[in-house]
Every structure is written in C-alpha cells, then in structure tokens.
Amino acid sequence: MPIIELKDVTKTFGRVNALRGISVKIEAGEVHCLLGDNGAGKSTLIKILSGVHRPSQGTYEFEGKPVELRSPREALDLGIATVFQDLAMLPLMSITRNFFLGREPQKKFGPIAVFDSRTASGITNEELKKIGISLRDPDQAVGTLSGGERQAVAIARAVYFGARVLILDEPTSALGVKEAAVVLKYIVQAKTKGIGVIFITHNVHHAWAVGDTFTVLNRGTSYGTFKKADVTRERLLQMMAGGEELEELAVELELIAKRDSTEAGKLEQQVAKVLEDEAGESH
C-alpha cells in the first residue's frame, strides 16, 4: 500500500486551473521524482501534498484512508515533512534552534517548561554527524552554512523527527555541481531508511541519478508515472518540454540554420568576386 495517494486531484484558483486530474502514489523506500518546467504545476502539487492547500476536487489518501490536511503542521504530525526551497531555515538563528524549531525539547521545573538547549545541541551534533557534517559549533548561525549544508540540516531534521514521507522542493536547483551531488546522496540515504522521498526538480539529470519513479507534469496535467526501467532520460526531457513543441522547435532551429547557410554562401561568393576584380586591376 502506498503511503500517500492522490486520486484525480484538481486545484483551481478562481478561474485558473492550476492542476487537472492528477493521480500519484508514493511508496515507502522509493524516490519519486516530480518533473516539470516552470509553470507546470509542481509548486501547487507540493503545496497540496504538504498541507498548505487543499484539493478543489479529488482525494488525498494517507495509508489508504482519505485525509483532509488543514496545515503543514497537520501533515507533519502524520509524518509528511516538507523542505521548502528557500524557506527551510532562519539564517540568524542557531543551527540547534532551527533544528528543533516548533518541537523544542523541554525540561520541566514544576509548572515551568524550559528549552533544554544542552540536549538539543547534543542531538543536533549527533544527527548531522550521521550524514557526514561535523559542526564547529551547533550554536553558530545557520546563515554561516552553505546552501547545500542548509538543505542537509533540513533533511536531517525531517528524518530525525520520524518523517515517513520527505518532500523536497527543488533542493538542488540553487547549488553548484559538488554540493548538488552531496544533497543527492542524502536523498538516497533517506530512501534506504524506508522513507518515501518526493523529489521535485526541473533538472532531469539530478532526477535520473536518484529516482525510482518519475511523474511528469505539463501545464497542470500529468503525462503519467513511469518506472525507471520503462523510460529514458531523453523521453522525460521531451515530455517536460511538452513533446510536440520541442519537435516543432527543432524544425524551426533547422530552418534558421539552413537560411543562414545560404546567406553565408552568397556572402562568400560576393567576397570572392571582389577579390578577383581587385587582383585584375593591380596587374
């Protein structure tokens, strides 16, 4: 049984159809890539999956039962953790405080609950060490970390708090090649822990490197879901660009190239003639 299943989900904003008839299943221990160009509906779909929006039509099922999520917090309580692209961390707060934000460990002194910062720092250090980041100081501001490290902290946080599904919104798009590779490694690590990872990206190469299943979105509709064995990278790229459009574009590009070559040929002949004439005069 899939952990999450969307059945025929449609989302409209006023008269705009952001998503039409989307159905996807997310299984435990797989990396499910959501691919699509800008404006394909990826971010609307993430917001539905993470509890920010509710579908206008269709059902959201969690472990086979229909659910209605009213906030990201409710999704989080079910174990659906989302790492939003640029909203993952508060740069001026320490790594530890970011790690435990909203779920602070507490010590009780009678009726007074105190933030247990020693436990928090210890766990943060430990969890980050597990994914290969050794911190100089867990109390340093998140703003001192690189983009990839921030993503890593966010992923480690989700895993530590028992995420069953991890939704990653373009985690590699703002990163350099090396850092992106490190984040891809974390994605695989999360998968081997039995977590269902939803990896949203418009980079087919990153998706292909780690993905087991691929769903391609285009203009709010789905081209369907494909197992890695049943599809090629080129085919995915073609679907993302909208299939036919890309073929049309290729024809157009070819025409431009042809036209240019005849122009260039004419120019060459003219130049040759001028040179010949000049040569004749000088004799």
Binding site: P72, R73, M89, L90, L92, R97, L101, F115, A141, T144
Partner: protein, 352 residues
C-alpha cells in the same frame, strides 16, 4: 617550517597559531552578541560623564539613582518593545496607551470614587484588549504594524483627550494621593524598597523574566522564528498569530504598568502623558542591538539601551552643556548604533 631540527619551533608555531585561532573564535562569538555594541557605548558614555561631570555629582549615589529612574521609564517599555521587534513588529501606540491608562485609573478614582485597585485592573484589562486588537488586525490584514499602530496611536490619544475634557473639563486629573492609603494593589506599584524607586525594580524584574523567556523557552524560540521568517515558522508548526498577538498585548500592558507607577507616584496625570515614549522605547531597543526587521536581538540589550538614554539625559544635566542638546545626542547615538549593529550582524553571518 622544513627540516627535522626545526620541529620544536614548528610545533611551537602551530601551538601559537591554534591558540590565536581559539582566541579569535571566542572574540568572534563575543562580537556577534547583539548587545555588544550597546555595552561598549554604555561604558563610553559612563566614562565621558564621569570625567566631565564626575565632580558635579554624576558619580554620587543620588546621581546614579537619578539616571536609573529615568532609565527605568524607558526600560520598562523597551524590554517589551524589544520582544515585539524581534518578532518583526512595531507598536507605536504604546505612548498613547500610557496617556489612556493614566486617565482610566485617575478619573474613576477621583471622580467616581472607585477603589484604586479596581481602576488599575480595568486599565490593565483595557490595555490587553487594545493589544489584542492591534495584534489581531496586524495578523489578519497582513498590513505593516507601523500603520495599524499609528492609527491606534491617534485613536487612543484622541479618545483620551476627548473623553477627559468631556468628563473633567480639564486635560489633567489630579488628587489621587488621598485615595491610595491601604489599597492592596498600590503597594506593588509605588514606593521605593531599599531606596530605589519601584519603577527600577519592575525594570530589573522584567529584564530578567523576559530575557530568560526569550532564551530558555520554546515561546522565546518562536519569537525569533516569527520575526526571522513567519512563513518558515508557520511551516514547521509555530503558532505565528498567537505569538504576535500575545506580544502586542505585552507591550500595551507594559505601557499601562508605567502609567500606573507614574500616576501613583505623582498623584496626577495628563492627557499628553507618554507622548513620544514609543519612539524612545524603539530607540533604546535599537541601540541595544535589536534588529528593526526582526529575527535578531536581546532583552538585555534593550535594557542597556534604556540605561544609556537615561544616563545621557541626566548626565547632560550635570555638565555645562545645555540640556537642549539631548535630542541631537540621542539622534547621533542612534545612527552610530544602527551602523555598528549592522556591521556586527554581517559578522555573525560570515562563514567561520
């Protein structure tokens, strides 16, 4: 350092380097504390007045108590304003709240014969309601709190003015003194335990309690998060609206606290009481390293900022400088503080 025989020197060099790096790391940690700029300024201001006005009474116990009292007037407001600022919001209505609360206490007592404790409780209830409304409007409309509370600034001041004139025919209410004897609430808002005015004790108490809450509770963590990035905070389940609204209630309540202390101390109040107090509280908080845009700051810093304001305000009095210069000094200090704090914050975010 090449060569075997130089090994000792190499390790000595390494040791010195490690030692220096350790020292630098500690220094950096100290530098990124939000209140460092304020503490430095406090020392500078103190030394300046100790040198120029030390012989005229600035260094006496009396002189010290003097500037502590003025500092307390700014500080009681500044500590709550700092928390609200860290949460990314402003409260410009806090000065008008002082005027309104003063009248809510003074008029019923002197005109209608209410017991002071009842009038004080009503004033606090009123301020909490106003704070709730301010916060609720900010959260619901998503308009800048600057605008919302600017509206409450005028509304509260105007209503205080109009209603006071309508009820008393004057802009002042006085004669509280004869009603205060034996009232149960009066003791905690007036007097001078151990020779220090009650306002100083409230200031110190609020600094300790609010400072402790900010750094040692989940709620404190949420205050930082809400001001740093409300959307990110909401996504991890922080109750953003509740945090903001409660802080607007806190600032309104500290305005009423100050009004209560002042009314009981002087026995009278005026419709203009507390004018510009909101700006001085913001100035204290900013000098104390609190970031106007939220997400960064400290309660202790705001208290140091308030102390600096009090020290300069009273210190000028002891020197030969004309006291009219105070505002210019305040403006220059504010500018210097913002520049310094901005630099320190950039240091905090630099990779180590």
């Amino acid at each position: 350092m090449p060569g075997g025989e130089n090994g000792v020197f190499a390790s000595a060099g390494r040791f010195r380097r490690n030692f220096l790096e350790g020292r630098m790391a500690n220094l950096r940690k100290l530098m990124v504390r939000p209140e460092l700029g304020a503490v430095t300024a406090l020392i500078a201001v103190f030394i300046y007045f100790a040198v120029t006005a030390g012989s005229q009474g600035f260094l006496t116990t009396e002189g010290t108590i003097n500037y502590l009292e003025v500092g307390a007037e700014h500080g009681i407001l500044a500590v709550s304003v700092a928390l609200l600022m860290i949460a990314g919001e402003f409260d410009l209505s806090i000065g008008s709240m002082i005027g309104a609360a003063g009248m809510i206490i003074a008029i019923p007592v002197t005109k209608f014969g209410w017991p002071p404790w009842l009038a004080i409780l009503v004033a606090f209830a009123f301020s909490l309601a106003v704070g709730y409304l301010n916060g609720w409007l900010v959260v619901k409309t998503r308009l800048p709190s600057f605008i919302i509370t600017l509206a409450s600034l005028y509304l509260l001041r105007g209503l205080t003015f109009g209603l006071t004139i309508a009820l008393l025919n004057y802009t002042r209410a006085s004669g509280m003194g004869s009603y205060l004897n034996g009232d149960p609430l009066v003791t905690i808002f007036s007097g001078a335990p151990l020779g220090l005015k009650i306002s100083i004790w409230w200031w110190a108490g609020l600094t300790l309690v609010l400072g402790w809450i900010l750094f040692n509770t989940s709620y404190g963590n949420w205050i930082f998060a809400v001001g740093g990035d409300a959307q990110a905070a909401r996504n991890v389940g922080v109750p953003v609206a509740r945090v903001k609204i409660s802080l607007f209630m806190l600032t309104a309540a500290t305005g009423t606290l100050l009004a209560t202390i002042q009314v009981l101390d002087t026995g009278s109040t005026d419709v203009l009481r507390g004018e510009l107090a909101e700006l001085e509280a913001i100035a204290s908080a900013v000098i104390g390293g609190n970031l106007l845009t939220g997400g960064y700051g400290s309660v202790f810093g705001a208290t140091v900022g308030a102390l600096i304001l009090g020290m300069v305000q009273q210190g000028i009095f002891y020197t030969n400088i004309d006291t009219n210069w105070f505002k210019a000094v305040l403006g220059a200090m504010l500018l210097a503080a913002v520049l310094l704090n901005n630099y320190l914050r950039q240091q905090a975010l630099r990779s180590q």
